[in-house]
Symmetry: D3
Subunit: 335 residues, 6 copies
């Protein structure tokens, strides 16, 4: 059987004016269900792995639609909680050229923020799991979310499960009275694979490394010295030339060695949301199937191709990602 | 100059799956901005009157779009407040035949619920106004909304402004610790024109009148005896044969006399939302331009034709409403 | 080879807000190319006959699109003129229930109004034709259109071609200085089959017959006495219960005998435009293939089924029209 | 755990011109994945039961999309076969009023028709199943489909599984050289619950019962005498007044007793496809949860409400179906 | 209170085939209301200034929709005239890559062309105004439009109002018998700020300066010597690499000094229409808020970002424009 | 009269998820009718030539829609055959950036594959024709298609008609038992103008020339020596930088001389399908109107501009193609 990966985090409805309009000139919106951790599960399911996502949704037709969306990817939703609070939403106004995309969130009083830790039996949920994935968004939403996550990490540690984390600090969260940095330090200390780079390390450690290769290596060494449980550090760099053009590159500090991938250029960006999650999912898939360096290359290609796919989730197959990794320019039709 | 009408209440984004789909089988939604009191202002603006709507919206591109929508109707938005909370939303899954429409709200922590009473200068806002309109939804949203409304009513009373109210009690509101009935009693006591019928009177007074003509008269008499400021009582009755077919009728207790309108049948219902608001707006327009009985007929016709118009607001002109009032079946094209 | 039918008249772009919206709340419109005489040609082409439509369109990408639309029905467009004036347009706001549809025209200075009679060689155009069809709209648009039509009728008469006419008087035309009634008298006098009823006869003759069966017979007798070239008179009656429900019936005065069809009820009207043209086309098809009474029944069924088809043209096949004529309720799927 | 229901049959892509257009005037189509047996599984999944659907799909992005659609309903797809043949499709042109809907199929050389019986291990598939559902379409598609189905029925019988069947004979199938009637006799003989009425019985037995109540009872008695394995017979009657209005009624012959339900009227039909499958699914759900008579009423209500839901599958919840069963007219919004 | 800016010119409905189709392969169009001078008012309103637009629209539902659109931007429409002529329209077929966009106009007999100068009381309209803006299109449409504009300029001059003009000569106008060059000379002589460059100066003066920096300076000197009322000259240069890629740059001759801005590159052009109007509006905004050189930079950035916004009007905020002015590439999401 | 061109080949319905979605995340598809040979006829019709396309379509509403589509281009469809088999279809999932487009076909058992050679009277069909065009797809579909084509070529030869061929070998065809290479050799031997390059020549002759200029010349010489009927060889080269960016170039071996065109760059590719057919049509048009070298340039420009047009057919006019040929970058609007 396939390795089982468990993810935990908010599922939101994302809404965008159709046809590249600004909201004020639009009367319809396209929507997707997503969330940074669910996106990882969705991508891993599409890649053929066995995933389960843990979250709380509204006990109404919106929550049902969110569950149907997760199921369509093949994610196991049998532990999703329903409660009386509305599902979180965000509006994304998609930019173009030198007009930036804009996001307006409505998530801080939703169904996930009101998750009840006592409803989650992590021993059962994590049974037979090989990977658990979390991000810095979850503990920033509410104290309940933080407490649920901490318990999950403790149980996962007790079971020897690999714990991947993308612990980015988001300043528009953390409204419930806890200090983000302290909590991230606590939770990263319970994790084994760090997906992030100089920015994330500086945020967590209060350091001031610069973002070039040397800075990345020094920051990684510092991180490993502070958090002995962290084995490897994987980072993605995205160089945004415009809202429509991006370059992606991966780098890693692996047991004392530095690796970096080729740069991949993405023209005609269709959707930037979820490209970091595509990297994380590509990395987990790669770590399961390939050596560490190839895993990094696969993750970077997954990140690149996600820019061409609408919605939060990377729907590319392993074959398509591998082709991009091996230099496919997209210029020929596959019949 | 036109008489000025001031309305006060939440503006929400309403979202519906396009093309009569259920949410779980949809990937796009149409949206409108509306709210029961704003809908009254919108309809009165379209009818050519001078309106101002007071509300609070998010200080982001969603709030800007809400303001643009109000402006498009011709509503004066110069006193709209912006704050850091998200605009309220609701999802409407439109039914058909014997499948009921469903609504999921997300409004209790939004920009209007967090309105700051001290930011509203009602003396200035109500200067020169002839009508002020409120509904029972506003005080049910939050204590701030209630306090703002109470102050508005007190100032309006001091200025001798006509105060219309549709004081329906909604059980899914009133989560902030106040008892709905008590507050509605307080606020109806500050109003002059009651738009509602036996249900609303029973809710407010705790009585048990039945809903036929006799019950309506008795309830109206009781209401007037309890609230001397209330001069007239106007009610709409909608008999729903299916999600697609409705019958509307107006009735009134006017200074001791009972009136009722013809029944108007509406086939091929396009949108039920806002039909009560169309009645209220038609009534206010009628009271300004016609005698009371014709005002009731105009209000009922406004309610009927609104069922054929998409969105929250009644966009029918006075001429179109009058035609329906006078029996237009809609069967001929107007060239 | 199939009989050849020639039609002459304006082709317009018709635009309607998508999804039953009113124009002011819409940001997109669906469009069709049509015009009362072109609609007859389109329907006859779909029914398998050999048609040619004569008109003038703009010499730009709009005119090209109009020609492509005519070609898609199979209409011969080899005599369509192109000139420097814009194609006529009209906006149709589709009603529902008791809200009437509304039309706003922009046609009086367009490419057809500016048609140059000298560019039309009617002797060539009408070679081998068996039917020529015109309506009262064409001579109302401009003097050039009137002069072109008169010449066509004279040539058609000289060739013994059957001339069908739907000579409705439209008060929003006739802005170029001619008196509509006088010109219609002149042109009906050059025609052989009258498609119209009491209203049209009263308009043309200045009479005042009423619209019941007796009035229709008397009016028909009067018409035939005034216009000896007219052989038969065919009329459609549409009883509009609402914008969404119609009843159609045909009646005729045929060489001194009265006939009427069954009433056909149409629920869930999709599109009322072009239903009269569908009647005319059904009649011409019927006169070619059936006896006169069956032709009337076929015409009425064509009129009925057109109400269920979007756009100006009746796209129903002869088989489908016959099924409606024979009582098909539409309640079963055809696999 | 929930009872497990296994279904077997073709999954097709269904395509319909958007917005009620005819195909020739359209440039886009909406699509759904469905198939009579999959529809039953989808409805039962939405109702909360444990389902598995067995089929063959194309090994390309079309097949992947079909699987994603099944997963979105919660259907277990772990035994779906992929092969090199294209997924079957059909085009549905939706009628209105007295214009009938039309279907054009492309299924006889597709992935399901080319299913390889040896790839299906029915012993494993049917392990722990309580119900197996099949229809008369499956054996009509190809010999391979027939052979696979026969084996499934034999294995199901050996396990004592309830076998429901809707054995309608479709004359546009059965192109592969087998006589439909003979094969249906063979397969009905292996089933336990017959979903069908006089038409289906006459087709299978070559009898000539008429379709009134008496005929239904006699036909049922005859069926039971010919097929001792059949315990009960459940039938739905749909009286189509137009493409937009239908009446549904259920009747049954249950161990010698006759039952019939109320008539349920459906106005504003949104989608007729899959209403029979909704009946079958409602019946299976009812047989699991209710007594037999209530099961029939639930099935009829499920059939009725499906007419208001787009797509092949009934997405109504048990609560919504029960409301229709208990007389909900759909005229009120559920907030 | 904000400075008041008055604009005068035609409002048209602009229609474009949806989804980058050519008209002949399309069946729906997106539409916007706009016009070069209205676009300036719209942009200034969105930037927070107090604007009034003067125009004439059709007295039907099309005119109402045009007014609603102006109101949605916050433009004061209280002096808009309604008459019996249709609103002008134009069709825009949007190009891509090396296929140019195409426009077909229908404006020369519309409501604005038929504006009645006696209906405009410019003394009242221009009361308290600080800026009046006109373009060379208005006097080219009809003699009435020209006479109305001349009167407006005379009144504005008498009040000491700043008069900005973009006096481009359009050869497809000027059909009413006046010579464009002569009239533009007359009207530019009544203006104070010239928005245009070598092309426009050559057209007006009949000169032949070339378009490089030297030519621009010489042409500007010549213009100032001919028109002493003109104080400054501001020009935008757009270098079109393809229908999808543009470079914009501003230059100015300011009281004897030459300035030019950086080049701004725009990839993934969404909409070219109105980019010149965005420049004019940005300039007026800049002249009110900044020094002249920064005003030019702001105008150029406004022009650049407008290329990324659908519709005629620039909806970017001052903050967004400033970011582009300061080098924002659009590559990051604003949360 | 215009020269007549006859084409022969399958017409398919092509379906693509709307809005750049992947199929599994879509619920609607846009569609076009096309096919490599029909595309050539469509383009030549739009360019003003007289074309007739020979094919077989389904005798249902799908076939009618295909015929209407051909007619809309102006193609003569009077010899189109209808039979009982479904119209071929293909699904195109449009890529972006480095994600390749994907196609899934369903054509091998459709109406064209089942064409009956005896229903085609080539002597009549080819009467007065000057060009006949075929591709290597047609004989690969079925034996019937091959036999029909061979007969057409024999008749065309007997009439001295120019025979153009694009004989590409497609490995996913040729399932009916014939060896593709042998049949292509036979059929190319009956043709006069070869549209293809090194790849096609290598496939047919089993040679191994490389694809540079020298290889092309050698391969062309070899081809001419093997097939004396072939006079000229024209090739297009497309260099795909990504799914969104392409470079096109034409080259030719003309009676012993080598020519090549400039490279034309296409950014913002809208649709790659049919660009080769646009080359072929441009070439035929060019050969009729220009000298051979200019014909090659025109063909290359036609190929380039087709990348910017949605659908299978090149809708650009001769004027637009000539502009691209002469360097138009697309950066200006044509008013």
């Amino acid at each position: 059987m396939n390795p089982k990966i468990v993810t935990f985090g908010e599922v939101m409805m994302r809404l965008s004016p159709a046809g590249n309009r600004m909201l004020r000139q639009s009367n319809s919106m396209e929507f997707f269900f997503g969330g940074t951790e669910m996106n990882v599960a969705a991508s891993l399911s599409v890649l053929g792995l066995n995933t389960k996502h843990i979250t709380a949704v509204a006990d109404d037709f919106v929550g049902e639609a969110a569950i149907a969306s997760m199921q369509s990817f093949g994610i196991n939703t049998s532990n999703v909680i329903k409660n009386e609070h509305p599902l979180g939403t965000y509006l994304l106004e998609v930019g173009s050229g030198n007009r930036s995309s804009r996001i307006a969130y409505n998530r801080l009083n939703g169904s996930f923020a009101n998750i009840n830790p006592s409803e989650l039996n992590w021993n059962e949920i994590l049974e037979d799991a090989e990977y658990f994935h979390w991000t810095g968004i979850t503990p920033g939403i509410s104290e309940n979310a933080y407490l649920s996550l901490k318990e999950a990490l403790q149980v996962a540690n007790s079971k020897g499960i690999q714990i991947t984390t993308d612990p980015a600090y988001r300043s528009n969260l953390w409204k419930y009275g806890k200090k983000g940095q302290e909590i991230l330090v606590e939770l990263v200390g319970l994790s084994t694979i760090f997906i992030g780079g100089v920015n994330e390390i500086n945020e967590i450690l209060g350091t001031n490394f610069n973002s070039d290769k040397e800075g990345f290596i020094e920051a990684s060494q510092k991180l490993k010295s502070e958090f002995p449980s962290i084995k490897n550090i994987f980072d993605k760099i995205r160089m945004g030339k415009s809202a429509s053009n991006q370059i992606t590159q991966g780098r890693a500090w692996l047991d004392g060695e530095y690796f970096e991938t080729n740069e991949l250029e993405v023209n005609n960006v269709v959707d930037r949301i979820g490209t970091g999650d595509a990297f994380a999912a590509g990395l987990i898939y790669g770590l399961i199937h390939f050596d560490t360096e190839k895993a990094l290359n696969f993750a970077n290609a997954a990140c690149a191709i996600k820019h061409t796919i609408l919605g939060d989730a990377n729907l590319a197959s392993a074959e398509e990602i591998s082709e991009v990794m091996n230099g496919n320019s997209g210029g020929r039709i596959k019949r």
